[in-house]
Symmetry: C2
């Protein structure tokens, strides 16, 4: 099989060979050696024809548009060739040939779809007893396998620490770019977390910052946040983390009505200064299509006034108070002080972070931070896994 025209770069191992094929009026039904039965509609098969007429082999992108093929296109013949591929003759004369590994990976019979759902990566919830995943800077820079382990920890646990990072300002960018380009914001490509007289965010004061996600004021919250410690001579300023998914899970069990209220009520977050005015209206807890918690959006200091019906308002305040109260419980909190040359990297859409107040008179404190989007993390993982 010439796989050059695969509309993909992944390899699809042969799970089970094709054993039989039957042409039905609207579909082709194949039987696999392990007895699974997979129907494929004619339109689906024609649409996914991997031949070099249908897919441009340089980009591996489709050039065929299915609307250019008759909706009632028929299949005149089907067989399994000597290499185990499914070969089809279409009523318009076109021919298609499918690799059995690829076909099995994309089969949409119920069992195959259920298998794919079950194989999806799962978040591992954590609390104060978390064994913090710690990685060595140089190993991440040099070794793709260690890099992949770090990225998987970020995807599935959502909180990691890196040690041995150079403390020159800007060196954060070197490790961030091991994943991808940095996501810029109005605070810059790299932002300096220091106490400033003309602060344009409470982050740039010496105040304590309650548990929050960064940029909840944007439609897409940054996926990964980095916080790199360059200098930390000031008293206080410890970092606190909670697993927002674990908090949501506890709320769901302990107060299901409050959980639902936070899933269903859009809340406005605002981030404004003299040059910008960001507003985003979204619920604090976002669920995915399967009803699983997919994202937490929270920063009390960036929240606008609640805007819901008079009837709903007391329920919203009750739910909001419950959520915040949970984030303050010791059972969920990981508290650490960062030393120079260490950095936090965490899932900003899941792991809420806080900072204790620090005393700027007691010594200097300088952190640098940056963001990378989840798309880039997941793409990098797929490329490293090829």
């Amino acid at each position: 099989m010439n796989t050059a025209a695969f509309a993909d770069y992944r390899h699809y191992p042969l799970i089970s060979p094709l054993s039989a094929v039957q042409v039905l009026p609207d579909r082709v039904q194949v039987r696999w050696a392990d007895d699974r039965l997979s129907p494929f509609h004619h339109q689906w098969l024609r649409d996914n024809c991997p031949c070099t007429q249908c897919v441009y082999s340089v980009t591996r992108e489709q050039v065929l548009e299915i609307v250019d093929v008759a909706e009632d296109l028929g299949c005149h013949g089907a067989h399994i060739d000597s290499q185990g591929c499914l070969c089809l003759d279409w009523s318009d004369g076109h021919q298609s040939r499918f690799d059995p590994g690829w076909l099995r990976a994309h089969a949409y019979d119920e069992q195959s779809r259920e298998e794919r759902r079950a194989n999806k990566a799962q978040s591992q919830l954590w609390d104060s007893r978390l064994e913090l995943p710690v990685f060595d800077y140089q190993a991440l820079m040099d070794d793709p396998k260690t890099l992949l382990q770090w990225l998987l920890a970020l995807r599935d646990i959502g909180l990691t620490q890196v040690r041995g990072v150079p403390t020159e300002p800007g060196s954060l960018a070197l490790i961030a770019r091991r994943i991808a380009f940095i996501r810029e914001s109005n605070f810059g490509v790299l932002f300096n977390v220091q106490s400033k007289a003309d602060a344009d965010s409470n982050a740039y004061t010496a105040f304590n910052l309650p548990l929050h996600s960064d940029l909840p004021t944007r439609e897409l919250q940054p996926g990964l946040q980095f916080l790199h410690c360059l200098v930390n001579d000031a008293e206080g300023g410890e970092s606190i983390f909670v697993d927002g998914f674990a908090i949501a899970d506890a709320l769901r069990r302990e107060d299901p009505e409050a959980f639902l209220t936070l899933c269903e009520t859009p809340v406005e977050f605002r981030n404004k200064d003299r040059h910008s005015d960001y507003r985003c209206l979204a619920p604090i807890i976002a669920l995915d299509a399967l009803g699983e918690v997919a994202e937490i959006r929270m920063a009390n200091f960036l929240r606008g006034p609640f805007d819901t019906s008079v009837e709903q308002m007391p329920r919203l305040y009750h739910a909001y108070r419950r959520f915040i109260a949970l984030t303050r419980e010791a059972r969920f909190r990981v508290i650490r002080r960062l030393d120079p040359g260490q950095l936090w990297c965490f899932d900003n859409r899941r792991t809420l972070h806080a900072r204790n107040a620090f005393d700027p008179a007691s010594g200097a404190r300088h952190f640098q931070g940056c963001y990378i989007d989840r798309d880039e993390l997941l793409s990098r993982i797929l490329v490293l896994q090829r």
Copy 2:
């Protein structure tokens, strides 16, 4: 009224003065001079106290967390002061004072909320008869009022042309930065649209490109896309645009079941090369909380194999074919050829764009493009409107 501690930078004109105030067990009810009655719960009022203890005046961000106030906090007194502000005495001794313009703008009685909904910006649907909004480069660079008109056209119409742009490579960045920083992608900060032998996207070939949005493979499709013409000596390569919201609207009326199928069925989009592998699973038509069409996600050449149930698959193909067929109807299409020094700027999450094939042997063709997110567009509009 000292407005320095307002958790906001906007001005709130006095729509109607406060005329009466009544304290109830869980809320304060105010009557306005125009007879509207607005209840405000104690928790809401305490939460939104604008005093300098509760809001840090430098950042205008809240330092109070409502969970630090008793859930059953009572109000011991309320009056309207000589400046028309609402003054409250809380059971814990704290005092709050609210500007009547701000209070009215955030009132959540049913009538006030309905008014705000009605005042939201509305998309103006268009078809082939669109009077294309055209702007002059120099005016956009020099005049904030023209700039605002352009941004409003982008928000509400979603397709604009700018003329008189310098044709030096990179000059696109100057006008893009009139709005905000540019959103980087794996294709760079500025991308060069040219026919390349080692293309990593069909966009970088001389093929025709069917109507599509850019980066449907990312969780957040770029909000604005710029395409700047530097050289256009090749035959062919005309730009085609359709209003994706108008297409969705037509589908909703002409084939409601197909419309629903595209709203409810997640489709995978993939963008992969040797260094990246982006995948995003989302419906082609996204609705907002009110059921209005909010976003179109579409690029046939970046689409993965459909993955839905055997029963649903024929319905999905039918709906997909109907949508594509509509985008090909002349009634929806705006077709123009860009000259050097002109650029398109459009809403990439609404306005689908296509390119006719061009003949690279007939002459040079060089466009540059870039992206800016919708958050940045909306923030810039709010700042210009202050």
